[in-house]
Amino acid sequence: MEPEQVPPAPRRPRTEARDLERYAALFAARTRQMRSSAMRNMMSIATRPEVISLAGGLPDTSTFPADLFEEIAAGIAADGLAGALQYGPTEGLDGLREAIPEVMAREGTGAEPEDVTVTTGGQQALDLVTRALVDPGDVLLCDAPTYPGALPTFAAYQADVIQVECDSEGMRTDLLEQTLTELEAGGKRPKFIYSVPTFQNPGGITLSLERRRQMVEIARRFEILVVEDNPYGLLRFEGDPLPSLYSIDGGGFVVYVGTFSKIVAAGLRLGWVVAPPPVRQKIVLGKQAADLCTSNLVQEFALRFLQSGRFDEYVDGLREVYRSRRDAMLGAIAEYFPHGADWSRPEGGLFVWATLPEVIDTGDLLAKALGENVAFVPGAEAFVDGRGTNSMRLNFSGVPEERIIEGVRRIGRLADRMLGLYETIANTAELPLPGGPVEKERRKAG
């Protein structure tokens, strides 16, 4: 039979300026909190090959064994193809839900397969948890600085985000308690505390054992949840592993978010969330609405990789690669960053957080750095409240050592130049300066 002749669809009418105003009235109120930023626009240059990008959170995928990839793909083709190409259960494939607790057990965290929901990346887990718990105007607490990618998610649900100061031991639990007490006095009950306790993104810091216990205790006392985001825990280069918040708590008030992005491959878009059953139910309902299920093909791939016996060897290899990249970065920062700079020394993970003298705006520094083909994430991206303007996040996992060193060298040189310029202006111009005359005298003397 001849196929029916269908006329080609008319070309979508081009959006004319007048239409844009019409659309403006159609946008949901929450889109007002979703913003593109000057930084993100500038970063479109960072994808060019000549740019040394210390900006992304990219794992190194070049060491994934191609032979194993072929073997797994052939295995799926031989004995699991129909299932892999099918829809699957919203919670995830049973096999993978059973394998995930075994991955968590490598860090000493116990979990039950039935509490696991497989998600499309850890990012979807954050989205689903926020969707399940947050009404517009609800308060959330998180690290200061926090994972920049969480902020658009929180904004999409119109959460009111309060950031709690971190020091070298992670979120300050004294300030956390104080904030919660104040909120309670004001009749506000936050929905959850979001934290990346281990090799934090962006700070590279790790919440100490004492603070972990305190955070869980505080959450229980105030009856709010903790969302523990742990993408990097297995990427520890040195020091002893710490128990997860989930294992300290036993799964009553802590929701655990995991991902294969940094320990298998980010391109799989595969993560998971472990939550107390009532919360899990809401998450699953949310996931049904969002995407029905995570790709079976991807889940099948990850499961077979975990069962291949080569997972630990692969993660060991990544740790070696990242450890030497971290060392290269820390060495280069010590050598090239200006006097007065301070930075974290992460025991694992992907990031170093560096803070420059206050007068340097790292957004401006980024503009200069892009001119010299280097990129990083300016600190302000990790805050909702305008802090972090003199800080930056530097990624060491996605770039080879010699490029890391060259990138850090360029950033350091530019920062030096900006600092020198500021000091020249401040010392030459007879202007009242922030901090008053005493401060100015000090600058002159220095």
Binding site: E16, R32, S36, I45, R48, A367, L421, T428, L433, P434
Partner: protein
């Protein structure tokens, strides 16, 4: 016609340029032209040679695209291109140079002082900053000389913030300027083929200044086209816009950004390669004049290839 469409590039406004480029490519094909898209980089000359275009459509913004660098390469390659020529691009893209020209030609522009990194280092120019504050008053605007899209612009209200504002402005280029703050309505006059299009007024809905976010965020700025102006104001604004384009040699194509204060208009800058994204002002102005986007693209192309083609 075989058209090389240049968009992307290595400026900070790369993503804006790519947006312009996508739209223009769509239109050019719709108009029946053969389009070769080129993202200018180290291989530009080779790419141009391989494409062998009859004309180049420039949809680049910021460094290199507007400052005459790419235009000079095209001239060298013998490829006619859209928009103003090399000299005009150089003059317009440096706000300081443009202001010098305005001064000579009597085009009204806010009072200003140049600041360069070299003058600060070599001649202690920062010693003059208090005098600049006295002359320009507060608030004043510190901004890079060569950056569009309000990147690196600070409105300084406290003298103590001036050093940081100057460092910020100089982060986006080797020279910057301090400019008198003018309180007025933000107008844009697009000029094409020596004729002004309907005036667009940009009215920020959420933020006090028309900054980067407001420029490229749908719904963050409300535009009124044509702007509600008295006949006298409209005529004066158009005359000043044409005078500014004439002074800089870009009557063929440009967008003139102005502030309309109580005592008349001031030219802030002239953009020789106006944006063509969905929220850009030139397409809005063209549409108000009854010129569809396709027709606008054809007109820009026609000006580049001359009346014979």
């Amino acid at each position: 016609m075989k058209v090389a469409l240049l968009s992307g590039g290595i400026s900070l406004e790369r993503s804006v340029s790519l947006q312009s480029g996508r739209r223009v490519a769509d239109s050019l094909r719709q108009l029946g032209h053969e389009v070769a898209r080129i993202d200018p980089g180290p291989g530009l000359v080779t790419d141009l040679t391989e494409a062998g275009p009859e004309v180049a459509f420039i949809a680049l913004h910021g460094r290199d695209g507007e400052d005459g660098t790419v235009q000079a390469l095209l001239e060298l390659s013998g490829v006619p291109f859209t928009g103003p020529g090399v000299a005009s691009c150089r003059l317009s893209s440096d706000k300081g140079l443009a202001k010098h020209v305005f001064g000579m030609e009597g085009v009204p522009t806010p009072a200003w002082f140049p600041v360069t990194e070299a003058a600060i280092r070599d001649y202690g120019a920062a010693a003059g900053l208090p005098a600049a504050i006295d002359r320009l008053g507060l608030p004043l605007v510190a901004k890079p000389a060569s950056q569009g899209s309000a990147l690196g612009l600070t409105v300084v209200t406290d003298p103590a913030d001036l050093p940081a504002a100057v460092v910020t402005a100089l982060s986006y280029g080797a020279s910057a300027l301090l400019e008198e703050w003018v309180d007025g309505r933000e107008l844009a006059v697009s000029v094409i083929g020596g004729e002004p299009l309907p005036i667009v007024e940009a009215i920020p809905t959420e933020r006090p200044t028309y900054d980067f976010e407001a420029r490229y965020e749908i719904g963050a700025t409300r535009f009124e086209t044509p702007a509600r102006l008295s006949e006298a104001d409209r005529s004066q604004v158009e005359q000043v816009a044409l005078a500014a384009c004439d002074a800089l040699g870009c009557l063929d194509l440009a967008r003139v950004d102005m502030l309309l204060a109580d005592d008349g208009p001031r030219v802030i800058e002239v953009d020789p390669v106006p944006g063509l994204t969905e929220t850009s002002l030139l397409p809005q102005a063209a549409e108000a004049a009854g010129l569809s986007f396709d027709a606008l693209v054809e007109r820009i192309l026609g000006l580049a290839t001359g009346p014979d083609t």
